[in-house]
């Protein structure tokens, strides 16, 4: 997928610096190394991805090289080194969700919305992360976590497209929670 970088939007590093100063205070170099992943997670929480400026700020703060930071950012599946779209879809592809049909959801997202794993849709509305582990809400399988807080559970391809269309319009999508029991 082609790199799509936001046109020269300045990243405000102040909130990250504040978090680093208050919560990431290593007493020795060992602890500095231990804190890298946590600091990157904070940056991703703040910006939705880890911009190069943030990675450099973390490297400077912890006294480690930028190479070390990118070594980790590119190793772990959770991190993004490119900006995400407006909405974040975290699709559980654990065994429970697979058995209940998550592969069909991945297909729909690819064919209808042009979404690949870790990719952004062409209209920059949606980001997809396919999670290989288990989100642990197996009673709702197959399930997608949306924007880090809501869950769309017991999805079918039809319900998924209805939910995404509602999400894009800004409408509530509660009715897709699926039947109980």
């Amino acid at each position: 997928m082609a790199h799509h970088v936001e046109p020269a939007e300045q990243v405000d590093l102040a909130p990250l610096r504040e978090v680093l100063a208050s919560q990431f205070r290593p007493r020795d170099s060992q602890e500095a190394y231990e804190l890298i992943v946590g600091a990157c997670q904070e940056a991703q929480r703040l910006y939705g991805w880890v911009p190069p400026e943030a990675a450099q700020a973390i490297a400077d703060h912890l006294g480690v090289t930028i190479n070390r930071i990118y070594g980790l950012l590119t190793f772990y599946a959770d991190f993004r080194t490119e900006p995400p779209g407006k909405h974040f879809l975290w699709l559980c592809h654990g065994a429970a969700c697979y058995v209940m049909g998550s592969s069909r959801l991945i297909e729909v997202l690819r064919e209808r919305y042009g979404l690949e794993d870790h990719g952004v849709s062409p209209d920059r509305e949606l980001t997809l992360h396919v999670f290989n582990g288990c989100l642990g809400v197996c009673d709702l399988a197959p399930v997608i976590q949306v924007d880090h807080h809501t869950y769309w559970g017991r999805l079918t391809p039809d319900r998924l497209t209805a939910a995404i269309d509602a999400l894009k319009r800004g409408d509530p999508v509660e009715e897709t929670d699926g039947p109980a029991g």
């Binding site: 190394y33 980790l72 190793f75 429970a96 999670f131 642990g136 009673d139």
Partner: protein, 576 residues
């Protein structure tokens, strides 16, 4: 809150919180508890909590509203437990926001809603509601680690202490030497709950024997397998139990350095464990010179970034050290050279959570539970179309059939049992006629299955064995850390062959190529994960040979899942 200075101080504090706990349950206010955990939040528990808060205020019900952890019954989330003054607590299941008004109104009238109830927390039936312990989900369980699940507030150290928490740690600290603690763990024959089943006591003993300092004790709460969610539920529902186990571990190793490495995806588990650590520091159960003794202990929480491989011991340690989480060759083993090249004892979350019980009641008591070779209880999770999805804690030795069809209620309406995948992505499935195997560390292995970390995936006729094997192999391909060639190149090759079969271009010799390639991956891979990566595929081939045959020889997919049907059509069209 001041730090507790010594044992008497702790006893006074424990007596006070116990009294407060008793008063809560004997008082004339209503006590309403809502289970808030990862799975119940997904099903709207926070909304239920807010609705209850509003409704109770509106209706003027004098109530104490509290949060508790998950109780394992994912199928009944969100659950609400109501204790009316003078009545035993009744647990109601599936209380979504729309049912809140109905429930509150009924309660206000002094009625119980028997049709919504799971059970009553009492020995005898109440208002036509059976005791909770007789609910089919719980009747066959033996709950030690989950005994207080759904009872205590996971974010309250007081609740934990009121229920007898940290007693085991105090017993170890004041009445036992570190050697005695290790001896008890050894006597219990507690085996590692992460999958390998290595006896924890022996590991602890080797850790003690190694002469290098500092030493480290690490909890492995990474849990990156696609089919298991027990550790995070344990951390979400009773984090202090794990912390107490870790403290005892640090005491046994005589080290002040404890770690818990938790998968970054398990946000609530991370948050609750961190809160537990904070509270323990505040109370003086962590820190320097705990309760006036010479023992000090500091616990650090580290989170993962979503790499399955970091559940492997040596990879996990590299991950903590801020390197890419890739395993290394052994020896030296971790108990000799682990974290920061120092002796490190690493055990699974569930293993540590079992330790307080062992210290309190003795290793012999624990060894009397379960089977001879696999003692104690095991947390197991189920996924797939069964009636009661959730986490159960059973005594080792129960058969898989009892577990699936009694505890978890069997298949949902309209689904027919086809098989159950065992051992995560590290073993094969079992068929219907193999379900009478007991659940322990050793019995399933000869059949091609494995207990692993206790995650079982039930699948029905709509799942194709070839496609499922492809899914499991693709997981291993994706999660291979790429350090060693057999795993890095072998798994993609297996997926490629499977894709050929799924698309209708399979050749009879493909199965031999799979077997040969798998042999190389198994024998030559660097770490435990690579060495078992082809097992699910080989297991599927062994359990469902006729389906592989149908794909290869008849060019059809019996479950109608694989793209093969389209390929056949295209081929037919090409012939014209």
């Amino acid at each position: 809150m001041a730090r507790l200075a010594d044992r008497q101080d702790f006893e006074r504090y424990a007596a006070a919180v116990h009294q407060r706990w008793e008063r809560l349950w004997a008082g004339d206010r209503w006590v309403i508890s809502v289970g808030i955990s990862g799975c119940s939040i997904g099903k709207g528990a926070l909304e239920t909590y807010r609705h209850l808060e509003l409704m109770l205020a509106q209706e003027g019900v004098p109530a104490t509203l509290r949060q508790v952890g998950c109780a394992g019954w994912c199928f009944a989330e969100p659950f609400v437990e109501v204790r009316a003054p003078g009545a035993p607590p009744v647990v109601y299941g599936n209380i979504t926001t729309d049912r809140v008004p109905e429930l509150v109104h009924a309660l206000k009238r002094g009625e119980v809603k028997a049709e919504l109830a799971l059970g009553v927390r009492a020995e005898e039936s109440f208002g036509g509601i059976q005791p909770l312990s007789q609910h089919p989900f719980l009747a066959r369980q033996r709950r030690l680690l989950f005994a207080d699940a759904g009872v205590v507030d996971p974010e309250s150290i007081d609740d934990y202490i009121a229920r007898g928490g940290y007693r085991a740690f105090l017993k170890a600290l004041f009445e036992m030497t570190p050697e005695e603690v290790v001896a008890e763990v050894k006597a219990s024959n507690l085996r590692g709950r992460g999958g390998a089943g290595f006896p924890a006591g022996i590991k602890w003993e080797s850790g003690r024997r190694t002469q290098a300092w500092p030493k480290y004790v690490v909890v492995n709460s990474h849990e990156g397998e696609p089919n298991v969610f027990k550790d995070r539920r344990l951390l979400e529902t009773n984090p202090h139990l794990v912390l107490e186990g870790l403290l005892i571990g640090c005491y046994a190793l005589e080290t002040p350095h404890g770690y818990n490495y938790i998968g970054g995806e398990h946000a609530l588990a991370v948050q609750r464990f961190q809160e537990a650590v904070r509270q323990a520091y505040e109370l003086g159960l962590l820190g320097d010179n705990i309760l006036g003794t010479k023992f000090s202990c500091h616990v650090r929480v580290r989170t993962g970034g979503g790499a399955y491989i970091c559940g492997e011991g040596s990879a996990l340690m590299y991950a903590i050290m801020g390197q890419r989480g890739q395993p290394r060759t052994k020896p030296p083993r971790s108990v000799e050279e682990g974290l920061w090249k120092r002796p490190t004892v690493l055990n699974n979350t569930e293993t540590f959570a079992s330790v307080p019980g062992i210290v309190r009641h003795g290793g012999a008591w624990y060894a009397s539970l379960g089977t001879e070779q696999s003692t104690g209880t095991k947390l197991v999770t189920i996924q797939g179309p069964v009636k009661r999805v959730g986490v159960a804690e059973i005594e080792m030795g129960m058969t898989l059939r009892e577990l699936i069809f009694e505890v978890f209620g069997g298949m949902r309406e309209g689904y027919r049992f086809k098989g159950v995948q065992t051992g995560g992505v590290s073993a094969g499935p079992l068929r219907e006629d193999q379900l009478d195997v007991p659940i322990d560390f050793d019995s399933m292995t000869p059949l091609g299955g494995m207990l692993g970390s206790g995650g079982f995936v039930v699948f029905d006729e709509s799942v194709c064995a070839v496609d499922f094997a492809r899914y499991l192999t693709a997981f291993n391909r994706f999660e291979s850390c790429s350090k060693c060639n057999p795993c890095r190149l072998g798994n993609p090759a297996l997926v490629e062959i499977l894709d050929r079969i799924r698309n209708g271009y399979g050749r009879p010799q493909d199965l031999d190529i799979i077997r040969e390639g798998s042999k190389h991956i198994i024998e030559l891979s660097l770490c435990g994960l690579g060495q078992v990566a082809p097992m699910p595929l080989l297991g599927m081939m062994k359990a469902f040979p006729e389906e592989f045959d149908a794909h290869i020889r008849e060019k059809r997919c019996p479950a109608n899942v694989c793209p093969i049907s389209e390929a056949t059509l295209l081929a037919a069209a090409g012939d014209d």
